[in-house]
Symmetry: C2
Subunit: 364 residues, 2 copies
């Protein structure tokens, strides 16, 4: 292992038994050995200033030799912000958020930022704590995804905390109701419903039901509205009994389908609010001895891994995570760096057709 041999004293200490600590190399160490000032080394690091090529090379050589990495803390301190983007999600264990997080991580990486993930786990108190954490870390921007806001907006302390943050850094939200001061990057839920409905209607379906989702979640609300609109456009009667609201999990889908199967006329196609609910729907259908898609076609939202784990593979709406992540982080970075970004942006989803709606289609 290489070490800096120009520092005579105390570069190693044994304060933790068994673990040797190596003193970190600083810009001054490099400067000294290169025979230049720290300012010059800094200029080499930030690259943009004009440094005489020969010196630049010499300094760079030492940087490489000692594998010197500038201290992000010092850097952040001197320009009063860390290059960290805080991301707050309800729960990364939900694959939907996991996908977005990874997409954001990749996008941030190429922009020279780091992402800091926090799970609110749906608890107001945690969400507030995370906000404090972000504040302490002096993050450059915050991305907030999903989660119900009902309880939050009624908590004055929370509102105060968000305002304070919004006042000092760009906040990008998605799938939330708040945000007068925020940037919004949303998935085009209406377009998503369009894609699914047109696909099913093209296949000849006229009895199309919805399973799961709540009116108080903005994206679901939009889907419901669009659903009715599309029916009207196609002159198909809206049947209230075909719109089963509920949660977002397996159970919700299963229960919804059980109710749908009790209708006088059973639907020929069901759109579930997400892949989990779709799985519930599918299991319910199969338990009753119906075939998918011959008797009932099923489609979902999110296009998570689950969609290709079930049988038949599930037709789903892909939220274009890569694009989504890029837009979220891109908006954050542009806003941080003082550029112009539009306040609201939409991501166009894509329909992934699989066997659960088209028997002849091969599962990917």
């Amino acid at each position: 292992m290489k070490k800096n041999d120009f520092s005579g004293m105390g570069e190693r200490s044994m304060d933790t038994p068994g673990i040797m600590k190596t003193r970190n190399i600083t810009i001054y160490d490099i400067a000294r050995e290169a025979g230049v000032s720290a300012a010059t080394v800094s200029r080499v690091l930030t690259n943009n200033a004009n440094v005489r090529p020969e010196k630049k090379q010499k300094v760079q050589a030492l940087i490489d030799k000692y594998n010197f990495k500038p201290n992000a803390l010092a850097k952040g301190l001197s320009d009063t912000r860390s290059k960290i983007i805080g991301i707050m999600v309800a729960d990364v264990r939900n694959p939907f958020y996991a996908e977005i997080f990874v997409a954001c991580e990749l996008a941030a990486e190429s922009a020279g930022y780091t992402v800091l993930l926090c799970n609110s786990l749906g608890e107001t108190s945690r969400e507030q704590k995370q906000l404090e954490l972000f504040h302490e870390q002096r993050i450059s921007a915050m991305i907030q995804l999903g989660g119900r806001v009902d309880d939050l907006v009624s908590d004055p302390d929370y509102v105060e905390a968000v305002n304070q943050l919004t006042n000092s850094i760009p906040v990008i939200v998605s799938g939330r109701l708040d945000g007068t001061l925020c940037y919004q990057v949303e998935i085009d839920s209406m377009k998503a419903m369009d894609l699914l409905m047109e696909h099913l209607i093209d296949l000849g379906h006229r009895r199309i039901a919805l399973a799961g989702g709540r009116q108080d979640v903005i994206s679901s609300f939009q889907k419901f509205q669009r659903y009715k609109q599309i029916l009207k456009n196609y002159r198909i009667d809206f049947r209230p009994e075909y719109m089963i609201e509920g949660g977002y999990d397996y159970q919700a889908g299963h229960e919804a389908m059980e109710r749908l199967l009790k209708c006088d006329e059973i639907p020929t196609a069901v759109i579930a609010i997400n892949d989990y609910a779709a799985l519930g729907v599918m299991n319910s259908i199969q338990e009753h001895g119906y075939r998918i898609p011959q008797d009932i076609a099923v489609a979902g939202y999110d296009n998570t891994q689950l969609a290709t784990l079930v049988h038949p593979h599930l037709t789903s709406i892909d939220y274009q995570y890569e694009t989504f992540g890029k837009m979220l982080v891109g908006t954050a970075v542009t806003a941080v760096e003082g550029g112009e970004v539009s306040r609201i942006q939409l991501v166009t989803p894509k329909l992934m057709i699989r066997a659960s709606t088209m028997p002849e289609e091969n599962a990917e």
Copy 2:
């Protein structure tokens, strides 16, 4: 919104159109208004020094009034380390890692640390970059989970980078081969296999097969070894055709089961290397018209959400994520703070019995 009114100049600027930036409050601002020195405020913050109660109260009141949060960057800079624990996983989109991450986040939170998550995505180059990121952030400790190490250990640059890090901060690894200098927190894979095998043998199974997993992944290797050992203990002949190595996904499980179904004597129970593979196994079984568990019992590892999404619900090994996370973070924190921790620790897994092995057992 509250603001600091004692600072006459430039506390607000309009450099980003439409977004007002508020200058951050510092320890000096508090000190000035309280009529004390910054050192005293710092002592109030860190709590441990002796400050006259009346002053302490006065300062605390101002801290609350302005919702002052000390700058973590400055703090980290002055004690040369940020209170951040870096966590590197292959991919959080894998629910197994997502569970561990959330558990670590919770454990870290109560210890006053922040966790920084990085996905290596199985690429050596990314893993190395994340290491640099950790170094720049001057993290206090690193937790590395899973991932294949074959390519990594052969890359001298990578080894160098890890050594450098290991030399300066505690590194906790799990599910990896390296680690002479590291702390290890492992799940007791042998015990896990014991639990599954004993459960199945108790149920009367004698023809038990394994599906998926590779010899070069340490945890799988241990499972294979233990499997043979247990068979021997119970005087059951080991049949090579019952041990189908492969990957860790749906496909691997499916293919393994297809091969198992071609055996002269079809196994009566199958243990899949994880829940994904188990799902593949189950689907293969059901496609061939067999019933689970009446004809063939199935069990998996990881006890992810998937286990209760499939039908019948899957018997699986629960890795006790909460305990696991606590041990990982606990080890990191103790090591950072100079305490004694044992180099190797084991987490005892737990068997979750569900309908895929016991028909009469109700799914939870």
